[in-house]
Amino acid sequence: MTHKVAQRHPAALGLAIGLALAVPMLAAHAQALCERSQIRLVNSMRELAQPYHADLNKGGRAFARWAGLESQYVLQLNQGDTDKQIALMRSILATNPRCTIFNIEPNADVVVKPMVETAQETGAWIVTHWAHPPGLHPFEGRDHWVAHVAVDSEAVGRAVSEQLVAAIGGKGGIVVLHGRLDTDPAQKRFAGLKAVLAKHPGVTVLAEQPANWDRRAAFPIMQAWLSKFGAGIRGVWAANDDMALGALEALRAAGLAGRIPVVGVDGIPEAIAAIGRGELTATVSSDAFYQGSIGLAMGVCMLTGQVPPPDRWTKAQREYYLRTVVITRENAARHASEPAAEGYIDEWRCDQLWSRSTGPAF
């Protein structure tokens, strides 16, 4: 129920919750833990080649620039290698750990625990996104795990699947492109699809294949399916926009671009543009630009004393769901432009840190 409200009146709800959370925060003013010039901002993600990650990085860098800390901004890319993500974190913490804040896009859920432990050992600070292993929470004594910004991937999956089912009229065969199935988003989004399919028995899954979040893998798979099922394919469900766009190119090669509904997740600019052209049906945006910056904003506010340290936060402030937006033809134009710092400055202020929270995530 909260999510439906969130989708229809996002700004209002956000403001309400944010204020509710922040006011007591501001009242309790705290000591600065670091000199501003010492604060180091680290964004840790998979790679830059995918537009989603490119936006993550852009958001982080834009925030750093606004905060006057651009020279202290570090980008860590692990190229899909979980061990490397941890190793990169450890290596940079050889210096100045106590004033370093990490904003993490975990390569796989398993990486969260070791990274949190590293932060606890060294005194660094860490904000994680998306998902963590079950039973692990920031507020159980892990003071250096500042916050976990969760995305309800099952809700996201449900939302986008409903769009697809609606677009094909509630019956017909669809093909499914999974993400990396050892990640929470991939599993949960698919769970959302299954939940929607359970309510629409007229829709069948003709085939499913993991395509590694990658359009280059999705392309030949889609081509093979086109020649196998031909006109039997009424819709395409992809766990992220990059794969959806790969499938779209295969459709284009068969002259079917725009004629078969395709959905994805992420809300990257290219996908939004495709929606505008009618080639993609829907996507869901968690706003990569925001995700890439909010953890850093939290860190700066806390380290400069404008906000107390995390052990004094409420549980809802330590682990909450991030608001997401379903983008369809109706609102594509509104989201089509390049994200720019100006649109986000308000949300980076220390009293607005939780403006996009839709509620606790535990």
Binding site: L48, A54, K58, P210, Q223, L226, S227, E249, A253
Partner: protein, 325 residues
């Protein structure tokens, strides 16, 4: 003089073996699902084989002369970015169209030239030299891609890359042209023929007065050219300049070359054999999707194919005392 060969592969198996294997695969998958052998799917297979074939042509020459080129992925990344930035795209103002294809190929050739010079002048084994230069290419590609991979907006080019002529995918036709060129060079030019000599018995070639270094560099440059061309074609098809455009391609190219009968030891083989190898791998990849196998199973099967191919290809070299590293 052979020593202690446990099993011998009859001559006919080595020459027509790959072709037979390909036929068996097609028939096998066809039994699994009749739609596999439909015209549409065969076209799909040809399309997916196009870019690997272009790579395999170049790789055949390199392996035949006794070297290896591990820089394919990095080279493709750099050439893909340059190509995408040179055609009409969303980041730069260039709009060079077909010329960009030539530029990508030329850049690849320059890269290959560098490979060849490091191997012949600095005497670094090709394994290491190409690995290093490949990383350089990858780094350059990342720099060019920076925060935003360029999206290709040249509609005519994209239409061509995704389209067909006389019923066959355009990319497949381009690859076939590349194959033809490779055949001509291999059969009718000094560069091609001397490659056999250099790979088969380099000291004999040297003593005969052949400028071995020059020919080695030329072959590396040729392989670089094919990598650049392959990168451009793949980018045109996907519509994006991507640092990962070459990921996994090198192993596929080497596997195809070996399946096709070119020995890793050098001195033998043909681009035609490599083409069959490429088709075989494409058939397997497509067929596995058809029967619904997961990518993990696909990887396992591809790995098994590589092992079997290497085994069959090298069985005539089984010498009890040969040191295998």
């Amino acid at each position: 003089m052979r020593t202690g060969v446990a099993m011998t592969v009859p001559g006919w198996m080595r020459t027509s073996g790959p072709l037979l294997a390909l036929l068996v695969l097609v028939v096998g998958f066809g039994f699994g699902d009749a739609r596999f052998v439909s015209l549409a799917n065969l076209r799909t297979i040809l399309d997916s084989a196009a870019v690997p074939l272009v790579l395999a042509v170049g790789m055949t020459f390199v392996i035949r002369q006794g070297s290896i080129d591990l820089s394919v992925e990095g080279m493709m990344a750099a050439c893909s970015l340059v190509f995408a930035l040179a055609v009409a795209n969303d980041r730069t103002a260039f709009d060079l169209g077909w010329l960009a294809l030539a530029i990508a190929a030329a850049l690849g050739a320059v890269f290959g030239l560098a490979n060849g010079l490091v191997v012949t002048r600095l005497r670094v084994p090709s394994f290491m030299a190409t690995l290093g230069l490949g990383s350089v290419g990858l780094g350059a590609a990342m720099l060019l891609s920076s925060d935003q991979p360029p999206l290709i907006r040249d509609a005519a080019l994209r239409q061509w890359a995704l389209g067909r002529t006389i019923g066959l995918p355009n990319l497949a036709l381009a690859a076939a042209a590349c194959l033809g060129a490779g055949l001509v060079v291999e059969r009718y030019t000094r560069l091609g023929r001397y490659g056999f000599a250099i790979g088969g018995a380099e000291d004999v070639a040297r003593r005969a007065g052949i400028d071995v270094d020059f020919h080695k560099v030329a072959v590396f440059a040729f392989a670089g050219l094919t990598s650049g061309l392959a990168a451009a074609l793949e980018s045109a098809r996907l519509g994006i300049g991507h640092v990962e455009v070459g990921a996994g391609q090198m192993l596929g190219a080497v596997t195809a070359v070996i399946i096709g009968g070119t020995s890793l030891a050098g001195g033998s083989g043909s681009v035609l054999g490599s083409a069959i190898g490429v088709l075989a791998l494409a058939v397997v990849a497509n067929g596995l999707v058809y029967v619904g196998a997961t990518p993990h199973l696909q990887k396992t099967i591809e790995g098994a194919i590589i092992l079997v191919a290497a085994l069959l290809a090298g069985v005539h070299l089984h010498d009890r005392l040969r040191v295998v590293k």
